[in-house]
């Protein structure tokens, strides 16, 4: 068992957001990604930020973990802000020798930062309120119409499902191997970059081997239970949209329309 949880890990609190259909949550994430590029006003972003915060509260997931959702994008965030702020031409508001900050640069960097924050918050809401199995199921159902175009949607969905379920297992495996090698005096964070890269060999090789081994065992176990690639399979779960899903879709789209309209019509 790991000490501490993995970022964006599913937190089963059975809140209203948890009860939403996974297909809906995946679709709305894609929808919001597109919407974010069309919001033109700072107030529009604030509305979406407030909405995301309300969703985090409604989902009853740990607030600390939601703030830590920004940790992986922190570098990207700072890097993007830096470049937009100093290299966007426009009306200069600050100048020190050759360093110039333009009004347009400030606005653009703020918008990009808000977009990234919103994107990671909504993704965090999806992953912390939807189990990997539900995400895979939702994805499978979403791409199932492609079967008519001879697209192997079931197999692709199964691959995604298995991969997603293997992620936490691989994390635990890596943790276990790392501890075992540390017990043999291995050091992973010392020396120059080449030495550091080489020191990861005792971790990566066993991890790779055990992953192949697991994949092989899983393939055998699936075949032993009658799995055939491309064969037609039924599903024991049938999902239907409920009233809650319709209400949520209405609210989500309404909020996004308001956010889009601010600065254009309002």
């Amino acid at each position: 068992m790991k000490k501490g949880s993995i970022l964006g890990q599913y937190q089963p609190t059975n809140s209203l957001v948890h009860q939403l259909d996974s297909r809906l949550k995946i679709t709305l994430i894609f929808y919001i990604v597109i919407i974010l590029f069309f919001v033109r006003d700072f107030n529009g972003y604030l509305i979406l930020l407030l909405f995301a915060f309300i969703l985090v509260l409604l989902s009853r997931v740990s607030l600390i973990s939601s703030f830590s959702a920004f940790r992986p994008i922190l570098f990207l965030l700072l890097f993007t802000i830096f470049f937009q702020m100093f290299f966007t031409p426009g009306e200069v508001v600050f100048k020190l020798y050759f360093i110039k900050i333009s009004k347009e640069g400030l606005t653009l960097s703020l918008y990009i930062a808000l977009r990234l924050i919103l994107l990671s918050t909504f993704t965090f809401i999806l992953t912390s309120t939807t189990s990997t199995v539900e995400i895979a199921e939702g994805f499978q159902m979403l791409i199932s119409p492609l079967k008519f175009l001879k697209f192997p949607s079931d197999d692709i969905a199964l691959m995604i499902s298995i991969s997603l379920q293997f992620v936490p297992i691989l994390f635990e495996e890596a943790d276990r191997i790392m501890k075992a090698q540390v017990s043999r005096g291995a050091e992973f964070n010392k020396g120059n970059p080449i030495r550091r890269a080489r020191s990861f060999l005792p971790l990566l090789l066993p991890l790779l081997l055990s992953s192949f081994d697991r994949a092989d065992q899983l393939a055998n176990a699936m075949e032993a239970r009658g799995f055939v690639v491309g064969a037609k399979r039924t599903s024991y779960k049938e999902r239907r949209f409920r009233k809650l899903d319709y209400y949520f879709t209405f609210i989500f789209i309404s909020v996004s329309i308001v956010a889009l309209s601010v600065g254009r019509f309002i």
């Binding site: 501490g4 740990s62 973990s65 276990r176 191997i177 540390v182 017990s183 005096g185 081997l209 055990s210």
Partner: protein, 282 residues
């Protein structure tokens, strides 16, 4: 030598997955002891041994090695690794080297031993684990059988010459012969004065190898004493989800016929006693 004082450990604190793995553990391990840490799955055994060499830090309490707190910054991590060798479950899954020599000498080389010293220690540890070192050193560790791989993996820890050898379920997944082999080679380590700590839920194994048993239930020590005392406490054995070893249950039945039936550790000792009795009777 190694002492745990009021150690507590919680996984995923302040989340809904919170689990108290260890609660207020006090334990002293002395030189030359052979200790079995027993308990059901999830009782905290593996967490406990990871505290022994500082792989995980306790939330509260202290771990002292020869009187020094191992979780203090000034404590040299290499010294812990050198003194407390931990063999994890399925250790053969950590293999990465091309040859047995490279695999077994990985630890000594990490500790800064010279090439010659590392080679000598690898040879010695392979011999302790029952190999003809000359025959195996240049072979790939991946080409051996399951039992042999396990012994190579144990040798790769022994090669660091730890004062305390900790083995987490060393015979998990092994057949009868493999188990017997491993236990007999661990016994070799005991003979040369190494302190041995075995984590197990196999009571026959615990009885055979140890002179002290520490039982854990839900992260708490519920028993710490000799095997003889432990196997008298049926309620603890049952509550810890453990089994009574064959030698102990046989003795309980045999006491009806022989009042002086001694406490035996294995079937060999039982057989010797029965044969002695037969000779006496004649």
């Amino acid at each position: 030598m190694l002492e745990l004082q009021n150690v507590s450990l919680t996984y995923d604190p302040s989340t809904k997955f919170k689990k108290e793995a260890l609660v207020d553990i006090n334990l002293k391990i002395q030189k030359g002891e052979a200790i079995s840490i027993v308990g059901h799955v999830g009782s905290g055994k593996s967490s406990l041994v990871q505290l022994f060499n500082g792989l995980i830090k306790p939330d509260s309490g202290f771990v002292f090695l020869n009187g020094k707190d191992i979780n203090k910054r000034e404590f040299n991590s290499k010294e812990i690794v050198k003194t407390v060798g931990v063999v994890f479950q399925y250790p053969e899954e950590q293999f990465f080297a091309e040859t047995v020599l490279e695999e077994v000498s990985f630890g000594p080389r990490n500790l800064g031993f010279s090439e010659g010293e590392a080679r000598r220690d690898a040879y010695e540890s392979l011999e302790i684990m029952g190999f003809n070192a000359d025959e195996v050193i240049s072979r790939s560790p991946f080409e051996f059988s399951g039992g042999e791989k396990r012994r190579i993996a144990i040798a790769s820890i022994i090669s660091m010459k730890p004062e305390i050898l900790v083995l987490d379920e060393p015979t998990a997944g092994m057949d009868f012969q493999g188990t017997k082999n491993i236990l007999s080679h661990i016994n070799n380590e005991l003979q040369i004065g190494t302190t041995v700590v075995i984590v197990t839920h196999n009571m026959d194994e615990a009885l055979l190898i140890s002179n002290r048993i520490v039982a854990l239930t839900d992260g708490k020590i519920v028993f710490d004493g000799t095997p003889e005392e432990f196997f008298k406490k049926k309620e603890i054995i049952l509550s810890a989800g453990l089994d009574v070893p064959f030698a102990v249950s046989f003795r309980e039945k045999a006491l009806r016929c022989f009042d002086d039936f001694p406490f035996c550790r294995n079937s060999e000792e039982i057989l010797n006693f029965v044969l002695e009795k037969k000779v006496e009777k004649r």
